[in-house]
Amino acid sequence: MAVIGAGPAGFYTAYRVLSKLANAKVDMYESLPVPYGLVRFGVAPDHPEVKNCQDKFSEVAQDPRFTYIGNTPIGTSWPHPPHRSLPLAALGPHYDALLLSYGASKDRKLGIPGEDTLAGVYSARAFVGWYNGLPEYRCLRPSLHLAEEATVIGQGNVALDVARMLLSPVDDLRTTDITEYAIEELSRSRVKRVRVVGRRGLLQAAFTVKELRELLSLQGVGFHPVHASLLPKDPNSFPRTQKRIMQVLQKGPKTQLADPEKSWELCFLRSPKAFIPTANDPARIGAVEFEKNRLEDPMFSPSSKAIGTGETEVLPTDLAFRSIGYLSEQIPGFETLGIPFNEKRGLVPNEDGRVVKPLDPKTGDPAIPVPGVYASGWVKRGPTGVIASTMYDAFETGDRIVSDWTGREVDFMKFGGEEEKLGWEAVSNEAASRGMRPISWAQWMKIDGAEKERGARFGKEREKFTSEEEMLAVLE
């Protein structure tokens, strides 16, 4: 089986398949030299315990039936020129099964004026990638030293992560695995106030109670309370999860300062309409224009929709972060292998992880499985969920692969060639002929060791290498 993407979805699926099929062999392809995907580049640096799942992944990687193939992009063009990536079709003939677990590499856009043109407007994905050392965003250099007010658009946990990074005392972050360049910029930050803005209300917001509690526990950070009209009168009549969020909000921040140095707030019922330049620099953001919304009745139902009122409000801001979700893309070559893609939802249509050509509503043709192709993680279900949900969902796909294989009722990949598929043994020749430089698990362990050594100098778990060149230089 070929796995595309070395994040938690790929690892947990590989783990499940290897645990249940003694003869399974798994080759895992990763476009970066380093593994773990969003566990390394997405999970906030002050959540080290969430990264403990890496221990399990490392254990999976030590299995002799598992091969890690880093620095080997499949079908992608950016930032690798075509001759430095493998076309998807190069894998097909050498595997029985293909697992798509490459996640969501884009983010949803607002589609409003100023989004792509004004300095100071960032995607949360880029900002998170920047502080976590994702090579793609190492040069983002967000101008925190020029900013006092920041606006985060979106109310998921990524939005709350961004707010927490902007408001946390820098000294609390120094000992995490955050990049040193991010520490430098964060210590120059003048950000005092962060607004986290959502289209709907508290009951419809996507963040979870842990992230809310953390923001309310920050030393020296005040919280502007949510207006009572936006909260239900009796939290006890709600299910446990919502009830606990309301209770945490009611309790308020740990720091009760009359005039706090920094503060944040949750702004509800606001849809962004435009980013507006600041008066003295037409190329830099100075404000966001919002349309005020109201909620469809019943307003305290999680599915209540926002209705625009036509009334607008302009809030000044020096920085804006778009945090309204991620999007998966298809890999060039899907069509050749007959793999469908749902552009609208940004995922690969599947049933329990088995990729299917979806039911055709016009002709009524039923869904047809694509032989041997499976999906896991955000490519499978869309960009939501914590590690636990990714794990369960990966196990579901793993179980599906195992039962398809042992049940012998469905076809696996058939692209001619080998009677018994040779996997990486065959594909490596193609990679070599393209002058690619695959990274093995042992080589990753060297990079890992070098990062930990660098980190020890700063008293932190690791100091990440943030460019592919630096990572590969360790192996010279």
């Binding site: 089986m1 290897l18 249940k20 598992f66 949900s389 009677e419 018994e420 598929k421 490596s428």
Partner: protein, 178 residues
């Protein structure tokens, strides 16, 4: 990926050899002094094992805990005081994950205490455990995180169920991270 019929290691080696003429290996798969396992691909029947870190109870000091697995089969173990349910389950290869390593930062070791009275005898969950339970699938009134429940005399004879929630998850079951 894997042979459909169980093939002995000898047969497999023969298969390898018979195929090797297709692709003479000119370049090593990984240009490095470290020989990757992929070149040899040894046949192996070892499955991945989980490891708990428990110490066996001293004679006369055994406490008992029963896990009811996803197929409703009970597994009863004699354990020492102070051991937590996640470690015990992993020590005995039960199907329980501890993605965060037992630090109450995920919900993968969710268990359901079968007896209400027994549930009351376990020290109350802290905020961080409750925060994670909020995200657990199939949450019940007597749900706990296995990593946070330590065996003691008070809860000797504890019976917990592993929730079976790996199938047919609705997207609404997921907390959004977006």
């Amino acid at each position: 990926m894997f042979p459909r019929a169980v093939i002995t290691s000898t047969t497999r080696l023969l298969l390898r050899q018979s195929h090797s003429h297709f692709l003479p290996r000119r370049t090593p798969a990984f240009p490095s002094p470290i020989l990757p396992s992929s070149l040899t691909r040894p046949f192996s029947t070892t499955s991945l094992r989980k490891h708990g870190h428990t110490t066996p109870p001293k004679p006369g000091e055994e406490l008992y805990v029963t896990f009811i697995d996803k197929s409703s089969n009970p597994h009863k173990f004699a354990v020492s005081a102070g051991e937590n349910l996640l470690d015990i389950a992993q020590e005995h290869d039960l199907d329980m994950e501890g993605a965060c390593g037992g630090s109450a930062a995920c919900s993968t070791c969710h268990v359901i205490v079968v007896d209400d009275a027994m549930y009351e005898r376990i020290p109350e969950p802290e905020d961080d455990e409750n925060d994670m339970l909020d995200l657990a699938f199939g949450l019940t009134e007597t749900s706990r995180l296995g990593c946070q429940v330590k065996m003691s005399k008070e809860i000797d004879g504890l019976v917990v169920k592993l929730p079976s929630m790996t199938r047919n998850l609705q997207s609404s079951d997921f907390s959004k991270k977006g």
